[in-house]
Symmetry: D5
Subunit: 92 residues, 10 copies
Amino acid sequence: MLFLARMDVQFPSHLSPEDVTRMQGLEKEYSQALQQKGRLTSIWRVVGEYANYSVFDVASNDELHGVLSGFPMYPYMKIKVTPLAKHPNSVR
Amino acid sequence: MLFLARMDVQFPSHLSPEDVTRMQGLEKEYSQALQQKGRLTSIWRVVGEYANYSVFDVASNDELHGVLSGFPMYPYMKIKVTPLAKHPNSVR
Amino acid sequence: MLFLARMDVQFPSHLSPEDVTRMQGLEKEYSQALQQKGRLTSIWRVVGEYANYSVFDVASNDELHGVLSGFPMYPYMKIKVTPLAKHPNSVR
Amino acid sequence: MLFLARMDVQFPSHLSPEDVTRMQGLEKEYSQALQQKGRLTSIWRVVGEYANYSVFDVASNDELHGVLSGFPMYPYMKIKVTPLAKHPNSVR
Amino acid sequence: MLFLARMDVQFPSHLSPEDVTRMQGLEKEYSQALQQKGRLTSIWRVVGEYANYSVFDVASNDELHGVLSGFPMYPYMKIKVTPLAKHPNSVR
Amino acid sequence: MLFLARMDVQFPSHLSPEDVTRMQGLEKEYSQALQQKGRLTSIWRVVGEYANYSVFDVASNDELHGVLSGFPMYPYMKIKVTPLAKHPNSVR
Amino acid sequence: MLFLARMDVQFPSHLSPEDVTRMQGLEKEYSQALQQKGRLTSIWRVVGEYANYSVFDVASNDELHGVLSGFPMYPYMKIKVTPLAKHPNSVR
Amino acid sequence: MLFLARMDVQFPSHLSPEDVTRMQGLEKEYSQALQQKGRLTSIWRVVGEYANYSVFDVASNDELHGVLSGFPMYPYMKIKVTPLAKHPNSVR
Amino acid sequence: MLFLARMDVQFPSHLSPEDVTRMQGLEKEYSQALQQKGRLTSIWRVVGEYANYSVFDVASNDELHGVLSGFPMYPYMKIKVTPLAKHPNSVR
Amino acid sequence: MLFLARMDVQFPSHLSPEDVTRMQGLEKEYSQALQQKGRLTSIWRVVGEYANYSVFDVASNDELHGVLSGFPMYPYMKIKVTPLAKHPNSVR
């Protein structure tokens, strides 16, 4: 079951550059593990913004919320989720 | 080069049901040809709306505009395009 | 799996009062069948608006889109869907 | 008498993690007491957001404002209330 | 129990001037009956707009929806309702 | 001459609880004096929000700005003013 | 007492060009009479739009609503009114 | 050549009251000099807001940007500029 | 003096395809004449939309409004104008 | 391939004036190098705002994101990108 998420990152100004770098490292690990498990099937950078569009493949809304709230940078992200269904014109 | 498009369909009330059905048939053909050529890599229905999110893979903005304006239902669609770049956390 | 939907109805002006009444009758049947099957667990009128908030319980996004697009008044409704997860403070 | 509320939480950055944890504990107690008294009939997490949709059953607007402003995290929540009426298609 | 409503009127272009005048007459009667019964305690014109702000005093959300949907011009109005509570600084 | 104002309060995070309490006390005095003079004819709490809707009765725009900017909490309020006129259906 | 109004014109498509021309003629007369009486102190075209910003000088909200609703093109205008007060830095 | 500007002031919370007072003094001088030179032909307070609408008369966009960015409080203002043209109904 | 304009086209449904084609022909002539005279220095299609961004070089706001309102398709366009000034980092 | 970007600058309040000046110097160098390489073909100041509209000429979305995220003031800018295509009426 697929969901599109737009995720915008905004770090509070009190975070040190080291905190930011460390969190970005944890974020990369978490994101890549999700991709390897097939939970996160695509992730793209929005050109010119500290934001991404991602496609998640999960079994339920609860699983999706668990996946999203597990992102190390979750407290600093504004996320909007759109549920997706099969499109009648899709060849897949 | 990838672009995300959200496409919302709104038919004017003067179109007959036959016109609509015919146009949906042409739309399906056009969409599936684009998918077979690899120009349209994904298309999903937005749950509960006459709208889709689609991912296009094209060589240029001009090509993308040609592809989009070629949709048979283009005059009845409101389209918003977001350019996508590679995300540093993507494993692909 | 629960989803909240806000559904706003707007009939085009060319519909006759008879068409509207007939469609509202079909809508009621469809809605009550969904409630009896447990797919639609709550439906409330938004005070002062031709709109409702509804809670759907379905197994997948595809099922939800099928349910929503099956409403007799679907062509005349603007629907916004919000996926819901279990809240940690909920006693249920 | 039912009301739907969307409640978005945003903690100011000067709160310590301990303050946040303590407040979340108080919030849970308060929320569950409201549920046991039947004032709060449903509470759901919005997937991907620090937000909830809740349904309140109260005797008056004044009671509702008292209930909402009594939440321990009330100073850190943005709340939007929608009054609900019985829907003619509801079987309940 | 008080509610503030903003009501914006928009007649469809197919209504004849006679229909409009007739409906405005019915609206006036309905509105004044509500005022005499104390259900509608204030109604003001928004300067420069075909719109009003009104204060309703009703016993429940269901009663309010009944009152609002009973306006002869209800099909041509966009209504937004805000529930009001006693303000701690109010001398009344 | 009547005006409707929506007033939303937001205290900056550097204010101490004592400052807030003191300002709320001054606000109450100021508000009640305005009510006794007939300048502020109604004030209601918006349910679930640190906001109010108020009706002012003043002789001019300049007087209204003086009244509003004199609120002790004026620097912490976002105010939107709507000029009101007599409604043709009003019985008053 | 001054008010700024932004007025956007939108004619319904069923008006004939003759109706439009005739109404624009009546509008000009009305507008210029208001200017000669000092009720309308300035009127400017918004560049690129069928819209204007106007400054009205009236004795009350009721007078302003009368002036605005008297425009021949009032049924085809969307008007937003902002009450103005003397600015402390103004030399006038 | 005329332009309408809406200017909203928001001081950051770290400014001391003395800084604010000093800047307001400089602002007044600058504003009145502009008025005496005929560059700023009107300035009005928006009732209830720390904002103004101003009309500027300048020879070019570059001159206008110079005038606006020269305001002592420019770093703390959000400005929106609307170019104005002669209105066909204006008697001036 | 430069201005950026975003122009969105929307034809009313009662225009025949012939009317549209004829108007697009007139539009092209007008647009190209403006380009040859140097009044319109750039015009780009917004990808996926019946809209353009254009840069105009004119001597005054009045000239710009004349140029814009002279477009054959002006009655069917929504135009938003942004005045531009020289940027300090520009090498031109 | 052309893209229009609107870039709004907002410095956090903890930056010292020296930091700001230094960053503006680096920004100028970076911007002018981009212009000399033909990647940034136009940059204009939005009158009255700390913002610009810029036109970029790049070979791909990835190149554009690299160019934009390389701006020294990138962390303090909100950027919105619009892909542009050739306009049929353009003489270039």
